[in-house]
Symmetry: C2
Subunit: 118 residues, 2 copies
């Protein structure tokens, strides 16, 4: 994740509807969600959700794939992790005061499957 991508990602996440969408897609996992389902759950119009989904895709935070009539969107976990790393390293310079408290969070998150980390 370079600065260009990070700027786009920050911009994408600075909008309430889009932040909400990313959250929903992270929760829904690899199955993702269809555009219509996202629109319904986020309570926005189809054309509006389409606008925001395009924005999130342009920023690299989500991906799409057609499945029959639906278009399924999924969160890009790598990009989200990359953004967190960018914040820690490139923005905050690995400053311990900033980054260390996050280590506790990282350590406490959903247990890893064996061998998931190398």
């Amino acid at each position: 994740m370079d600065q260009r991508q990070a700027l786009a990602a920050f911009g994408a996440l600075s909008q309430e509807t889009r932040l909400h969408i990313v959250r929903m897609l992270v929760v829904s996992g690899p199955d993702g969600m269809a555009a219509g389902a996202i629109a319904e759950k986020a309570e926005v119009s189809p054309s509006n959700v389409s606008f925001h989904l395009k924005e999130l895709e342009r920023a690299g935070l989500i991906a799409q794939q057609r499945e029959s009539r639906s278009i399924i969107y999924t969160a890009n976990y790598e990009a989200l992790g990359g953004l967190i790393r960018f914040l820690m390293e490139d923005c905050c310079g690995g400053n311990r005061e900033i980054c260390a408290p996050s280590a506790a969070v990282a350590a406490c998150c959903t247990p890893a499957t064996k061998g998931e980390l190398q």
Copy 2:
């Protein structure tokens, strides 16, 4: 850090000049930098830097204090750490695939002073 603050912070960091300023202030540490020095190093006009500094302050990412004729700006380490935690927890739901790779970064950053972490 609640969602409202996070949205503001993301918006603040989504602009090149502002991201650059935050980086400079993190590096400059508790001494901070005067507005004029920031403007010079970032190569923007005084009034423009003032506009962006206000935006960053509004988002809670930096703080100011007058020192004689200068106004000294410093990074708000707590807010930056809070934003990283927000991304990990509230946005990404503590998802291990996203957060775990960041643990390595957190572990590798500038060594802590003894007793700095509780």
